[in-house]
């Protein structure tokens, strides 16, 4: 293969267990976001817009939907003669087989792929962040600092700093210490999980890390601290745009709501940095003769006959007349029947909410059997993809309804086959 100066490797194999039922059957990067996107569209579009032409996508957990979504990369202009997207699952080899044991191991197992492009720099990206970033600027800063590794950092509120990996730097910006979730953080520059490495150095570090039986083979926990300890030149790159790790139900919901409450935070209408996505082949969206819609984002193929307030409506969604949906996220293919009232709900792909279902934070006489305070907060209720919420069911806030509940409580829910999703919703 012809040489590529920079290649990007996107870590897309994580389960995203804190998203609960939303990632039961799909990897986190394939979770729908912001009406017409999947989370994965953001790093992929950033690559395209940064002029990066070779992108490896490391998959492991439930990759079917993600693989078929990415396809040959055409939607992001990443179907190229030299380079393009490569889906890189773990594989069997003569010396044995391994799942990806950690983020660093995933890259280690793909050293031959990276070598085939003979790159100078390798970007390690995460498939589950919402942000717009010019990676080229980060690589330029990496070159200017004569760094061997550059870590993108963002200022976080001091009180939250102990939840992140914190970078302590000297006056030149060189990292002297990396603390993972420190109890008493010395500063508030958090690692975004976006790294730029000089390939020669990273290659050696990965081989060393792999040889260490005590290592968890993780970039944040092992490889980067190891490089700092070994005296490599590790620098930070400060990013000051919008960045959100949408790893929890609350952050996923908030980040979606940010699109409505302050569209300038991550301006999706900016044509100089388009976020690309697969385009469903559906007609424009329709507002019915008695619809009431305000403060709502909506995309092609949807039909609103009822009311939507402060809601993210994805493609192929129907809201019938007499339904009221407020502060909610309706994922692709979901259907809300007449009389249903949903407030602060996330409705998974192709799930049907039948007549007069009510799911609001303080629902009177609501069933509270499915409350999941560990994953759902702030009154947000989540319905898994491919369910039917049966007529008249009432549910209190902070509930999480999955396929298991359809089996245990068939009076409320039913599971539907999801064979048609690829064709209809993509």
């Amino acid at each position: 293969m012809a040489k590529q100066e920079i290649i990007a490797m996107i870590l897309a194999g994580g389960q995203g267990s804190r998203l609960g039922v939303l990632t039961e059957l799909v990897a986190k990067p394939a979770v729908p976001f912001g009406s017409r996107y999947r989370i994965m569209d953001f790093p992929l579009s950033n690559c395209t817009n940064s002029g990066i032409e070779a992108v490896g996508v490391l998959t492991q957990y439930q990759p079917l939907e993600l693989n078929s979504y990415i396809g040959n990369g055409h939607s992001w202009d990443l179907d190229r003669n030299n380079g393009g997207t490569y889906i890189l699952p773990p594989y069997l080899s003569q010396v044995g087989n391994d799942w990806y044991k950690g983020t660093a191991n995933a890259i280690y197992q793909n050293i031959p792929f990276i070598d085939s492009y003979d790159p100078k720099y390798v970007l390690i990206l995460s498939g589950d962040h919402i942000y717009k970033m010019d990676y080229l600027k980060m690589v330029e800063s990496h070159i200017q600092n004569e760094a061997e590794a550059t870590i993108a950092v963002i200022e976080v509120p001091w009180e939250e700093a102990s939840r992140f990996g914190i970078m302590n730097t000297d006056e030149t910006g060189r990292v002297v210490e990396f603390e993972e979730k420190p109890a008493k953080p010395k500063n508030n520059l958090a690692s975004m999980g976006i790294y730029c490495f000089s390939w020669k150095v990273l290659r050696e570090s990965l081989i060393l890390d792999e040889a260490n039986p005590d290592s968890r083979n993780d970039f944040g926990a092992n490889v980067i601290p190891g490089m700092i300890d070994a005296g490599y030149d590790v620098f930070t790159y400060s990013f000051d745009g919008y960045w959100k790790d949408v790893g929890t139900i609350s952050s996923l919901w908030e980040s979606n709501m940010d699109l409505l409450n302050d569209p300038t935070l991550i301006n999706l209408r900016d044509t100089s940095w388009t976020i690309y996505s697969r385009n469903p082949q559906r007609p424009s969206h329709y507002f019915g003769p008695n619809s009431k819609v305000e403060n709502t984002a909506i995309t092609d193929g949807s039909e609103i006959f009822g009311e939507c307030h402060g809601t993210i409506v994805s493609y192929n969604v129907v809201v019938e007349e007499g339904a009221v949906v407020t502060d909610s996220i309706l994922m692709p293919g979901s259907y809300v029947e007449s009389g249903a009232v949903l407030t602060r709900c996330i409705v998974g792909m192709d799930t049907r909410v039948e007549r007069n279902v009510r799911a609001t934070p303080d629902e009177k006489d609501g069933v509270d059997l499915f409350v999941n305070d560990k994953l759902c907060k702030d009154g947000i209720t989540v319905f898994a993809p491919n369910l039917i919420i049966k007529e008249g069911t009432k549910i209190v806030g902070n509930s999480m309804i999955g396929a298991e509940h359809a089996r245990s409580h068939p009076q409320y829910f039913e599971e539907v086959p999801h064979y048609s999703r690829m064709e209809v919703s993509l």
């Binding site: 209408r269 007609p283 329709y286 507002f287 305000e294 403060n295 909506i298």
Partner: protein
Amino acid sequence: MITDAMGLILADNRRIQLGALTEPRAIAAIPFAGRFRIIDFTLSNMVNSGIKRVGVVALTKYKSLMDHMGTGAPWDLDRMRQGLYMIPPYINPITREPDRTDAQSVIDYVKTGDQRYVVISGSAFVTNTSYKPLIKTHIESRADITILYHKDGPIDGPLAMALELDDDGYVRDLMVDYPRSTSQNYAVGLIVISRNLLLQLLAEMMARGIADFSILGILQNYKRFRVQAVKLEEPLLRIHSVASYFDASMKVLDTEIRHKLFDVDRPVYTKAKNRAPCIVAPGSGVVKNVLASDGCAIMGHVENSILFRGCVIGRGARVTNSVLFQDVQISEGVVLDHVIIDKNSVVKMDGRLLGHPGFPIVIEKNAIV
């Protein structure tokens, strides 16, 4: 079953002009239903019927059409074998003038295909149907030409091609623009013909120096051949004038018709644009009976209208019974009724444009009102 037919779409029609709407583009490239162009419908019908080789005959102003078609990827027509062929007219190498006929480039296209049949489609209609049964009937009946017809003629008359059929569904008489026609059978503007017969007719046309290759031109031979007619059952929207374009657009707002026009099993493909989702702003006016598209930002009142991608409706603006093409900007306080506004135009503060159902006002591309 493999479809043994190639497609041929006539993107222009010398007899049909839609004023300012066809000034910058071929009729096939006129935007329709929010995010499509007229050609997307017959082209998707062909692709959904298993046709894998489609030629698009352009005459003039084909830049817009070429931009739209690209490599044919949205229709899966970017192929190593077969695929999409753009057929612009040849320039005469000696006079440097356009050749007097479209026929030579069409002959070259038809000759190089190995399918036995050709589906020839005009561009003055929109429907969603499969051409498979039509092709099948054509092959089984051994008719020379099979013509698709619909019970409804054009709403305002011109180019009505009325068919009189015998009991076996063969064409006995064919009349164009006959004012006293009581026919219930009007040609849609789509025929199936064998490749060999088409090549023979094209050769005859060239020999006679006939300059215009059209479906009507072929059908004028109906007395020499066995011409059979097959009825189109799906809704048909004819577009041959500004009034009929407006009427057809408003029919798409009808949910029953729209669902048939965008049958889930037969998707209508078009070029992707990657616009952000449409935003209906907090405190916007009423938005009802509206077909809107990605990239729109609605702050005003919109009713009975179609908004193409990227339209912006300012606060306090009132848009009713109108069709706004891509990236049209309606400033604050503007009032529009029965208006068609072409791409990229701007209507500035407090403008008022009031048309009439039969005579909608048409604002040209890139205009500032």
